[in-house]
Amino acid sequence: MRLAPNQDQTIFAGVLARLLEDDGIAGFHTVANWSRYEYGEALDDRLGEAGFFEAAREADLGPVAAAMMVHEIAKAPVVIECAASALVRPFLGVEVPRPLAVVVDDAPGAIRFLPQAKTLLSISDQGLRVAPVEGQCRAVESLFAYPMGCLDVSPDWTALDTDPVEVRTLWQIALASELAGVLSGGLAAVLAYVRDREQFGQALGSFQGVQHRLAQDAVWIESAQLLALRAASSRDPADAALALGAVQERATRIGYDLHQFTGAMGLTLEHPLHRWTYRARSLRSEMGGASQAFLDYADAKWGGR
């Protein structure tokens, strides 16, 4: 048991942190037509060129480093397709071009990252399939702060031999890591706001009613990250389901707090809060949401009735 990153993971995290400190590629900027998201093309390119998306396959980095990366990138105001590329793509058993979009159990409707995706991955009980989708999809408007798209044509699927349970588990870990990171990014933005914003002659963040809720949120977010890292370390289906269920269950309440304490300012598109909260609103319902994740855990942990 050692919960500190090893030397390679520490170096990896340090280089990533320096990239993410670059406001030009990872910071908040409003975008044309007040889009709810900004796709971080430059960040995506830099990470790809430096081989970050291959980390999970490296012995001294592994899925833990990849999960750390997903978490840290999700904290940024810009969005890139990272979770599937970092934690799922390295274990598909075939080389497929990224970015990836993922659909689980043939869920209907628009798919995250499909407008950018070169490959669509389908995970279902019938198995795994991949299809090239570049240039085959239509971007759709969405409440969520992700690029969302629908396919115009039926994809040209190729079945994969890889164990679908293993990939489903990795995708749960990826989603849990991303959602914990998104909530962490949102919390940091709100903390900055309530430290400065004064009402009744003192900072909002000095009121105990505000402090206790944000402190509780921090407890939930930090434990969620640890649960996701543990799942990345074990790649155990029960650990993965629990990590995803835990963070999805809390996302609604945390999102409420984050908006509540930034008041009307957090409802504007000039403030970055929506970049996190409207990603969280999407992620909290992925793969059936917390209830399904908890049922998956119950199956894995305790078996039947």
Binding site: A4, L226, A290, F294, Y297, R305
Partner: protein, 380 residues
């Protein structure tokens, strides 16, 4: 980063479990029914702990000089998990092991070390902790019990409350005021048979004989009972708390009781409902979240990292875990909370409802997380 136990840690855990299987009597659940502070369990600890000591499992993390084996922090913690999950057969002696002993090693005189540490390492010492007072709970520094010098003695007057183990304790780790403010607090190691000490049990929801009032009326003790210097009390308490850091690994018992509740439901064919299954997993998530935050603290300690705020986050999570498990049981197995057939659920409930109150209220932990961890400003 590695979340797996080493083979050595696993082997140690199995050693502890085998010891418990061998040494806990068949009526252990009846003895443990009313918690570590109960009369029955405290008395039991006096026969159990010497056996634990003989097996090298009472103070394995203590230095050899004082009866330990210099074993790693994680072993000490595994020991704590297994003991608490079993119902804490060490009774109040877990305090000796975790922090009273180490505090005496650090601040005690040679005479105090010789007098108290061997007894603790042999499992023969019952202590109580004289901290809280009627007017000093969460705000511990406002304590009013006074120790006034009189020649080579101190004369102590005041009252302590919520004191566990006081009914059978031989010695009290007492905080008393010798001056004003935090710098006016001292620690005294007071024999409980000293004239002027009166102990009254307080009937409570958390087990028979678990908490007490302790009255000190003109209690005269020699200067040699003082631990450290006058005014050093707050420093000593802070050191004690840093030794304790995360307190009792309560989530371990909660996780095991949750498994037992699920097994009970399965035995009745009542674990097929999706709502019940989901609620069980939600409670498990709270236990594992607490476990992860606690492990982060233990890991920091094992690596020699100075105490920060990680323990405060962990303590908040532990409260939620305890409550979610007992709430799950009461929601779906309400019949198990009457009668004696499922005494372990009753016993867990009584331990769980105190979690957010004892050893630092959850709201105080949230204050600390807000101020020191999130860097939020102080109110006017």
């Amino acid at each position: 980063m590695d979340f797996a136990w080493t083979e050595e840690s696993d082997a140690f855990r199995m050693t502890v479990r085998r010891f418990l299987d061998r040494e806990l009597p068949v009526d252990w659940s009846d003895i443990a029914r009313h918690g570590p502070g109960s009369h029955e369990q405290t008395e039991f600890s006096l026969s159990f702990c010497p056996k634990l000591a003989e097996a090298g499992l009472l103070v394995p993390h203590w230095p050899e000089e004082w009866g330990g084996r210099d074993r790693p922090t994680w072993e000490h913690f595994i020991l704590g998990e297994e003991m608490w999950a079993a119902g804490e057969p060490r009774g109040g002696q877990y305090m000796n092991v975790n922090w009273i002993g180490p505090v005496i090693m650090r601040f005690g005189s040679d005479d105090q070390k010789q007098r108290y540490l061997p007894q603790m390492a042999e499992g023969r010492a019952i202590w109580c902790q004289g901290f809280s007072e009627p007017g000093a709970g969460s705000d511990l520094a406002s304590l009013r019990t006074k120790a006034v010098r009189d020649g080579a003695d101190y004369v102590i007057n005041g009252q302590k409350i919520w004191t566990s183990y006081a009914g059978l304790a031989e010695t009290c780790f007492l905080l008393a005021r010798t001056g004003e403010g935090r710098s006016g607090i001292a620690v005294f190691l007071v024999p409980m048979d000293t004239a002027g000490i009166e102990v009254r049990a307080i009937p409570s929801l958390i087990g028979h004989g678990d908490i007490h009032e302790v009255f000190f009326t003109d209690v005269r003790v020699p200067e040699t009972c003082r631990l450290g210097e006058e005014g050093e009390g707050w420093t000593i308490v802070s050191y004690a708390l840093s030794n304790e850091r995360v307190g009792i690994p309560r989530y371990e018992m909660s996780a095991r009781e949750l498994d037992a509740m699920v097994a009970e439901l399965q035995g009745r064919g009542g674990f097929g409902n999706a709502v019940i299954r989901s609620r069980a997993a939600e409670a498990a998530a709270a236990c594992e979240a607490a476990r992860m935050l606690v492990y982060r603290v233990v890991d920091e300690r094992a690596r020699g990292v100075a105490p920060g705020t990680a323990a405060n986050l962990a303590r908040v999570a532990v409260v939620e875990a305890d409550h979610k498990v007992t709430d799950f049981g009461m929601d779906f197995l309400p019949d198990c909370f009457s009668g004696s057939e499922h005494s372990r659920f009753l016993s867990h409930h009584e331990r769980a409802i105190v979690t957010g109150i004892a050893a630092g209220a959850a709201e105080i932990q949230l204050n600390i997380v807000a101020r020191r961890h999130l860097d939020l400003p102080k109110g006017l």
